[in-house]
């Protein structure tokens, strides 16, 4: 009797496992921009799971059971790296029982190791807030970084899934061609933004500001990751009276209280940027992300 019950359990587990998601090339992307990039290169030969939604703060994600289940059957994990996901990804991978995607294995890909990092803190101390010791991980705000990551990611996907390598290569070449053209267009459109002084809510736009030659005057968070306080906002206000800025930049996932507080007291425009694919209606895909970002910035300086 007992052995029969065990057999039934084992058989149903086997049937369940077999019916799972093993046919396609499974990719686990930590944030929407890498999910979108994998989709651009992989087309219908990949099955992409994105661990966070566009309006979710990528710093604060729980190591949820659903993430463990998805990491379990992934062939490739695409993460931002530079400790953006340090609060949850190591734990998810450790529990997933999937040797293919552990850090160091070919199935683990970090976007930030493909680009030069900006914003490395001078001083490493938790008293400085939620600092990123390896530099600002929000590299996706500069589209030139997307190109660099795409080149390396396409190679990695070809290496891991040789059967679809030619397909990936062809799709990557096409993407790269369109991206180069779009890049030139964006840079031309964004020319009026050069030298424009801006305030940021969280220090999340280092790469965007560097790319477009804008000037970061202040941040609303007193320290990275610490909620804006009235005392600090008053300081920012005083600073802006001496050194006016054109707009406040806020990522779509962040609360609007602090930026509204400032906007009510100065003539500054609040510009909500998509920050990632899906962050706003216009940012439907990677191209839309920058189309919309630049359109919103240009509106902000009018």
């Amino acid at each position: 009797m007992r052995s029969r019950v065990l057999f039934v359990i084992a058989a149903s587990i086997a049937a369940w496992s077999g019916g799972g998601a093993q046919a396609a090339f499974n990719v686990f992307a930590t944030v929407p921009e890498w999910g979108a990039l994998v989709q651009e290169i992989g087309g219908d030969k990949v099955r992409v799971y994105t661990a966070t939604n566009p309006l979710q703060d990528p710093h604060h994600v729980e190591a949820r059971p659903s993430l463990i289940a998805r990491a379990r059957s992934a062939d490739l994990v695409v993460a931002t790296g530079a400790e953006l996901e340090v609060g949850w990804l190591p734990l998810v991978l450790q529990q997933a029982g999937n040797g293919k995607v552990q850090p160091g294995a070919p199935g683990y890909f970090e976007a930030t190791s493909q680009v030069g990092m900006l914003g490395k803190p001078q001083r490493l101390d938790r008293a400085e807030g939620d600092v990123h010791p390896m530099g600002d991980p929000h590299i996706q705000t500069d589209p030139r970084n997307i190109a660099r990551v795409a080149a390396a990611l396409a190679q990695r996907m070809q290496q891991l899934d040789p059967a679809d390598a030619a397909y990936f290569k062809q799709r990557y070449d096409d993407f790269a061609r369109r991206w180069t053209a779009a890049l030139a267009k964006w840079e031309q459109q964004a020319a009026p933004l050069r030298g424009v002084p801006v305030v940021v809510q969280h220090k999340a736009f280092t790469y965007l500001i560097a790319w477009l030659g804008m000037k970061e005057v202040a941040a609303l968070e007193p320290k990275p990751g610490i909620e804006p306080t009235t005392a600090h906002l008053s300081e920012v206000l005083a600073l802006l009276q001496r050194e006016p800025a054109k707009m406040v930049l806020r990522a779509a996932y962040q609360g609007d209280q602090a930026s509204q507080w400032l906007a009510q007291r100065t003539k500054i425009n609040v510009v909500v940027l998509p920050f990632t694919v899906g962050g706003t209606e216009g940012a439907k895909d990677l191209f839309g992300l920058y189309d919309d970002t630049i359109a919103r910035l240009l509106k902000g300086i009018q």
Binding site: T52, N53, E62, G99, R126, Q188
Partner: protein, 489 residues
């Protein structure tokens, strides 16, 4: 004599000379190697600069082309920036510094509290339950909690290791957890070996500093002595499905409460558990599990206080074999098997998956324990004739914690134990049936300026025994320094 000395010096010279030449050759080789490196690195840098120049030129042409409204040229995407060239002028790193780069991540948890308890904690008993080590509200007044020091790192490409010491305020150090994980295993399996908190229940795997209340639920205190640790091997398996499903099994020494070391080969204890979990939309996620522990004890001692349960025991109580206990407590020892079964669930809500501003967590567990074997008086006369003993008892708790604004949370918890049935055979006179169920209501508020610090105020009203109500106030701090890892769901 003179001659011999001359010969010796000549010999020494002869021996030393080739050595000296070898040394100078080595120096030369080193210098050559350095020059080679220098050259290589400069070439790499020049190459990098040339690449960048080409890149910039390409972009300039593109821009021009765009300006002239020509169709965009089919140009290559900007090549990835070449990796920074090796530092040619860097001084050769000393071995000690390069070894330091492999140091494990180190963190420490500082934890302390102030307690105001209306009842004397040394008299703590749960009516109808055999006392467990570590149970009770702890010391009155100021006390240092357990400080934790943790080391963790990847061992190599297959293993990772964790070692967690706990330092008690009494200056004793114990190994709380020390385990290796084989992360390179295929097919969803994760083996873990060493000492670890068992996968029994939900809260058991979490360290005390991650709990939402200052103390453990009463049922954990009564059945597991706060937390069940094991020395052994754990194997978990995650199903390859989109729905989270995990099976786990453990074999252990059985030396930890409610078991004791019995000096036998093979496994002294075993745990099995199953967990299932998932998301409901972006805002809700849940986890539920069932688990079962089987272990055994040989001469597990405990002091029983019959008078506490309403039996007048002053002046000595008599058990099997006519052994008399002194005062109001009787020293017993239990030999037999212990089974614990648990069912748990946790539900977490955070708007759109952002727990930073507001979030809510509902968590509950039910534990059941059956012990059967023999009870012996271990008093003055020592080992009286053992009598049969069996008990079936249970308990549960339910708690909710709500973060209503950034950094601030409030929580409520209700605990209840069911003293169930206890059959002490010949000692039955000392174990009167009690219909009293110990219970406790707890409220807390805590403030966390960052994820590394927390200050908590907690109040509990506990009814441990008939007519005995303890009002407990706790003020607690938890500070974490160093590279502190993430917490489990």
């Amino acid at each position: 004599m003179h001659n011999r000395m001359l010969l010796a010096s000549a010999l020494a010279l002869a021996l030393a000379a080739p050595h000296a030449r070898a040394a100078s050759d080595k120096d030369l080789d080193e210098i050559r190697a350095q020059i080679r490196d220098l050259k290589a690195s400069y070439e790499a840098r020049i190459k990098a600069l040339e690449d960048r120049l080409k890149d910039a030129e390409a972009k300039a042409t593109e821009a021009k082309a765009e300006a002239a409204r020509l169709p965009a040229p089919v140009a290559a995407v900007p090549v990835p920036e070449p990796p920074p060239p090796p530092m040619a002028s860097a001084p050769p790193s000393s071995p000690s510094s390069s070894l330091a780069a492999f140091n494990p991540a180190i963190s420490a948890i500082l934890n302390g509290r102030y307690a105001n308890l209306s009842q004397d904690p040394s008299q703590f008993r749960l009516a109808g339950f055999a006392p467990a080590p570590g149970a009770g509200p702890g010391k009155r007044g100021f006390s240092l909690g357990e400080s934790e020091v943790a080391f963790s790192a990847n061992v190599d490409h297959e293993f990772s290791g964790t070692l967690i010491f706990s330092v008690t305020p009494e200056d004793t150090v114990s190994v709380e957890e020390a385990y290796g994980i084989y992360a390179g295993a295929p097919a969803g399996f994760t083996p873990k070996l060493g000492r670890f908190f068992s996968g029994l229940g939900y809260l058991n795997e979490q360290h005390a500093h991650a709990w939402d209340f200052t103390d453990a639920p009463l049922v954990y205190q009564a059945f597991l002595g706060n937390q069940y640790q094991t020395d052994g091997l754990q194997l978990t398996w995650v199903a390859p499905t989109d729905q989270f499903f995990m099976l786990g099994g453990e074999v252990g020494s059985g030396g930890m409460f409610p078991g004791t070391d019995r000096g036998k080969n093979g496994a002294g204890s075993g745990v099995v558990f199953a967990r299932v979990g998932g998301d409901v939309g972006y805002s809700n996620s849940w986890l539920a599990g069932v688990s079962y522990l089987r272990t055994a004890a040989r001469e597990r001692p405990f002091d029983w206080a019959p008078s506490f349960d309403g039996v007048t025991g002053t002046g000595g109580v008599t058990g099997t074999g006519g052994v008399t206990g002194t005062g109001t407590t009787v020293p017993f020892s239990f030999t037999g098997t212990s089974h614990v079964a648990a069912a748990d669930f946790v539900w977490k809500w955070s708007p759109n998956g952002n727990p930073h501003t507001t979030n809510f967590k509902l968590q509950g567990e039910y534990l059941w324990r059956k012990e059967s074997g023999e009870l012996a008086l271990a008093g003055d006369g020592g080992g009286g004739a053992p009598g049969s003993y069996s008990s079936r008892q249970s308990g549960w708790y339910l708690q909710g914690v709500y973060q209503f604004m950034p950094q601030w949370r409030v929580g409520l918890r209700y605990d209840r134990l069911d003293s169930g049935s206890v059959d002490a055979g010949p000692n039955a006179g000392l174990f009167p049936a009690t219909s009293f169920d110990p219970r406790r209501s707890t409220a807390m508020v805590d403030w966390s300026p960052s994820e590394f610090s927390r200050v908590r105020l907690q109040f509990a009203q506990a009814k441990f025994a008939p007519g005995l109500t303890d009002n407990e106030w706790f003020l607690q701090y938890i500070l974490s320094i160093g590279a502190h890892g993430a917490h489990k769901f």
